[in-house]
């Protein structure tokens, strides 16, 4: 299994002291659809920019199919947040640019997709809606036929219908070409259907990374009387107390038996993600180890 994206001790510092991303170790296998989740300022954009070769790392390395991103530009499809494109150009000109600037560009695919989405090719980019612009940008990178798609908040400007279409075409494109996708999003609920790999970032660090099914198998949601996690050898990721009961996301541990009064279940995707996003506020640090 070769990693299409491999980060090793990757870090990026802004200014003198602030780390946008730190000690990031991630291996994204080929063909995976990866959800990159985290609150604002957690380092999602920094990680994507490092992987796209837009930023040089301050520490560690990142490789795309074994080489530095700057040498793999043809194999990376990147769409920045809000999908910026040249506002004065026409849609057809932007696609023409894609053809001129990329050796593997599939002109027919681009034209077909723009036509299907009812985006007028003669329209200038600045006259399009945010959603249409995002679709043009996605069309650009799909037609580029990359091995790795890096999408920064691609769903942010789309209405629910467009989101469904976007996710479907992204998924179709990837199963067809075997490309991997890494995309950041806040829309946790919508990711579950199409993602099979999860990276949770918080405060510039990777909290969780792995195959979603494996991760769900490795965790349990346990609820019981208030304060139960203090007793017994649970490794608690995060816990919340409401109405006299404490519900916690814990790492599965064969040694820890669910005692009387404790309910145990496999976490849903949401519970898993939110549990890890919650952790810094509700859990002592040693529980993270």
């Amino acid at each position: 299994m070769t990693a299409v994206l491999c980060a090793d001790g990757l870090g990026r510092r802004y200014g003198r002291g602030t780390w946008g991303l730190r000690d990031c170790n991630v291996d994204v296998p080929a063909g995976r659809v990866v959800a990159l989740v985290g609150p604002n300022g957690s380092g999602k954009t920094t990680l994507l920019h490092l992987a796209a070769g837009l930023l040089p790392p301050s520490a560690g390395t990142v490789h795309i199919a074994g080489l530095a991103p700057a040498r793999q530009l043809a194999r990376i499809g990147f769409v920045a947040q809000d999908a910026p494109l040249w506002p004065r150009l026409r849609v057809a000109d932007v696609l023409d640019a894609g053809r001129h600037l990329n050796p593997r560009f599939d002109t027919a695919l681009a034209a077909e997709r723009i036509g299907r989405l009812d985006i007028p090719p003669r329209a200038r980019i600045h006259t399009l809606s945010g959603g249409q612009r995002a679709q043009v940008a996605l069309t650009m990178v799909l037609a580029k036929q990359p091995d790795l798609l890096l999408l920064d908040e691609p769903l942010a400007n789309l209405d629910p219908l467009a989101r469904r279409d976007f996710l479907a075409s992204m998924f179709a494109a990837c199963t067809e070409t075997g490309a991997a996708v890494v995309f950041s999003s806040h829309a946790v609920g919508e990711l579950e259907r199409i993602c099979d790999y999860l990276i949770v970032l918080r405060d510039g660090r990777v909290r969780l990374a792995g195959d979603i099914d494996d991760l769900r198998g490795d965790h349990r949601v346990v609820s019981g009387p208030a304060g139960w996690p203090q007793s017994g050898g649970w490794s608690v990721i995060s816990a919340r107390s409401t109405a006299g009961r404490t519900t916690a996301l814990v790492r599965s541990d064969p040694g820890a038996v669910a005692g009387p009064g404790l309910d145990e279940s496999q976490p849903t995707f949401d519970e898993l993600v939110l549990g890890y996003l919650d952790d810094a506020r509700h859990t002592p640090q040693e529980a993270l180890a």
């Binding site: 920019h49 796209a52 070769g53 837009l54 930023l55 040089p56 700057a70 530009l73 043809a74 990376i76 499809g77 990147f78 920045a80 809000d82 910026p84 494109l85 040249w86 506002p87 004065r88 150009l89 000109d93 023409d96 640019a97 894609g98 001129h100 600037l101 990329n102 050796p103 940008a137 650009m140 580029k144």
Partner: protein
Amino acid sequence: MTWFAWRQHRGQALWAALTVAALCVLMLRVGLHASHTLAPFRAAGCISPGHDPGERHGSGCAGLEGFGPDFNYAIPLFELGVPLVVAVIGALVGAPLVAREIEQRTHLAAWTQSVPRRRWYTAKVLTAATGLALTGLLAGLANDRLQRPLTEGGLTSSRWPWFFSVGLAPVGEILLSFALALAVAAGAWLRRTLPAVGIALAGFLALLLCTGRAVQTLTPTSHTTGPRPSVPRDGWIIHGNSSYHPASQFWPLQVTFLITLLVLATGLLAFGWRATRTRGA
């Protein structure tokens, strides 16, 4: 990439070309008018090279003294106008070339196509520089064409401003101003176009005065000797009344001046590349 650079900036190219074309048409019109006014005096033999037209007084020469006052305005207008217009055009093209992409965040799209960042930068710079060089050349040649009848009619201004506005000089000036504005704007001290243009023009003026001065004084000069030193009419006085460049030095001096400006511009473009290369997203 050249195609894309052209597609992106052809609007700018159009208005730059129109401005310079308008200036050239104006200069050619004034030049033709001046030439036309001189035609009868030329036929009557009132004008001969190396002599002030006022020295000859023949039957057909009456009214020649009116030529000076009629066309005096054209000397400062175009001698100063040509460098000014080309410098403004150069700065207006140079400042947004990289900076606007960053401002509009389109650099994120541009730098993630399959084209390396270096080629993106070179293609943009070379496309713009080629267009600007042609523009400068056109303005220089048109002004040269205009100034000839003015000189013929006896209008000699102090000749250094003339030197900086004809021939190859505008080529160097437009490229220097372009490179300066690009470097100022891309260096991210001034991301917005208009302040960058202002700074670039001020810097351009300072650099132009320095290089002009250097070219005047550092290239070999001729000296007049004798009890009554006299500099030929078409020579350029350096200082005092004894040291000058003769007319035959025109092209060597123009080439020296052009090369000096090109070296400066190249340095500034290299600085612009450094700022672009190390720029994060």
